[in-house]
Symmetry: C2
Subunit: 341 residues, 2 copies
């Protein structure tokens, strides 16, 4: 990434070549995971401090935290992370940005063990190393350029039967889950609500990429007959995020974060890759060995996340009702939730 | 690998292109790990059967095992594996064949859990998957062709100051260890004897590759003024293997196989990569991202072997004197020892 590319950012970037865009997006994606991962720990430090002072009581309506600079620091870090993440989607393929979300789990695990004295045992440390190695393999093999360069092209892609079928499947599945499967089996099988969150999440990412493209065109002063798509994407992003958060919280109420985090990572990333390969054709330029490499990297990261989350008590994770397991859930799920925003 | 390449094998291969040679060597390397990994389990099954029948007593001079077909099957499997491994070195870069040796640990772990009821817990299974994933990443990024195509060129390379210095370092280090460091600190630090085995092992591999090249030339009827190198390589291989086995057994007498196996894998593979990159220039054609990919794959396999060996009792491995640890050592060390033959 060169400074020229940095200073032009979204607004103009006439001199930002495709290759530079990729690395610019990569740097944004990695820094967003650092911001988001650390924001959880910062916010928790703030809350612990406030609790100790007695300034914050749940339900008592206290706003003491608003006067605490650490709480604000956490909020700002989080905001910076989300912004960087959104921008990363505008510059790099979604099948690069989404899998890298795993790094925020890593960052918060490391910082929590350092500043919150949380347990990071040998397996957790191995998980951290594997997370970095798997992410590196993904970066090496990820698609380096995209085929959709304007809203006109994007509009064409959104109308292809492939994406229409995908949307219909996701939306109908979401209705089936929220009205039938969820109430009936949602508390028995972790996959039910996770499937809904991940499906909707993949639409969030597609909309985010569309919004990013629209904003890039808008700020570059490009006239486009499909300029109205910007508003459609914005509304879609907001609606999708609300649905996602709602059902992810349901899943987390029913199951331990150590189960939800890896399962959600797998489903969310897989569906984002499918959706964005339909719309943005990201994988069309990849050779067989890059696809294989991507798959390996993805599986390695899944194992890494599992090791980071699943062995805190030296046992494989079970249903939440298993009282042997602690539920310090903040560590993983939020960081993964926010990858979709 | 095509059948044409298969039928021509070592003898003639005029039609075996460089790319085909690579895949032929890859298939040989993978099948050798399958043979070697299963040979340990087969031999152990045979020995258990014989022990049960009372036909074999240590030190009593019984040759009952010679009449047992399972014991013979184990021996033949082992021989086939070693032959395939040697041939793999003749066709593929050493920095591909050596790291893949990890797969034999995987094969014997899986077969032992299936046929010998040995414990393969969740971490062991994750280690198996990681071993395959890491090996795949190594294969994707490994050098695809070699620069040394004749004994004349090899002779030049062996005379370069780089390799002469490497040999002097390894041989002097070996003397220092066997006469001074070994007797004094060998029982306190696992690295001492492992360093000796690995250093000598890297010379074994270089000699193996040289011998393979000499044999290929010999069978192809190529006249070469350096034909005498074949005998030199053969003698070197035999001497190096004897030294290696001797000191590896010493290390295994002093430390648990769950410590020796991963440490030996790391040292042996690293030194083979260094030695063969000096002599065979294997890495010269690689780009930065292939080197990074190789490194990632190698580190992933190291973690995988550690997980396969280190958590059999749910604890990280300690010095052998720690009585909490079992020492079912057969599983790993032999398979790694034999990778050098």
């Amino acid at each position: 990434m060169n400074m020229q590319g940095f200073s032009s950012t979204i607004s103009t970037e006439p001199g930002l070549s495709r290759n530079n865009e990729f690395y610019f997006g990569l740097v944004l994606a990695i820094s967003s995971t650092a911001f988001i991962g650390s924001s959880f720990v910062i916010k928790k430090i703030g809350l612990i401090r406030l609790n100790r002072r007695g300034a914050l009581r749940a339900g008592s309506g206290g706003f003491g935290y608003l006067r605490d600079w650490i709480w604000w620091l956490g909020l700002i870090t989080m905001g910076a992370g989300e912004l960087a993440n959104f921008a990363a989607y505008a510059f790099s393929p979604a099948s690069l940005v989404t899998p890298l979300g795993a790094l925020s789990v890593l960052v918060s695990a490391i910082l929590a063990s350092k500043y919150l004295n949380e347990n990071l045992n040998l397996l957790g440390k191995l998980g951290c190393v594997l997370c970095i190695l798997g992410s590196t393999v993904i970066v090496i093999h990820s698609p380096k350029e995209e085929t959709v360069e304007s809203l006109d092209v994007l509009m064409e892609r959104l109308r292809t039967s492939g994406f229409v079928v995908y949307c219909v499947i996701i939306v109908s599945l979401s209705f089936v889950i929220s009205f039938y499967l969820g109430p009936k089996y949602g508390d028995q099988n972790v996959l039910i609500y996770i499937a809904l969150c991940s499906g909707i999440g993949s639409l969030t990412v597609v909309s985010c990429k569309g919004l990013g493209l629209a904003l890039k065109q808008f700020f570059a002063g490009v006239e486009d007959s499909n300029g109205w798509l910007m508003y459609l994407f914005f509304i879609t992003v907001v609606i999708c995020i609300i649905i996602q958060m709602n059902y992810l919280n349901k899943a987390l109420d029913l199951f331990d974060a150590s189960v939800v985090t890896p399962v959600y990572y797998v489903f969310f990333t897989t569906l984002v890759i499918i959706a964005s390969s339909i719309v943005f054709n990201e994988w069309s330029s990849l050779e067989g060995e890059d696809i294989l490499g991507n798959l390996c990297g993805f599986l390695i990261v899944i194992i890494a996340i599992f090791m980071l989350n699943g062995f805190k008590d030296g046992l494989p994770p079970r249903h939440k009702s298993d009282e042997n397991l602690r539920s310090d859930r903040y560590q993983g799920y939020q960081s993964i939730l926010t990858r979709s925003i």
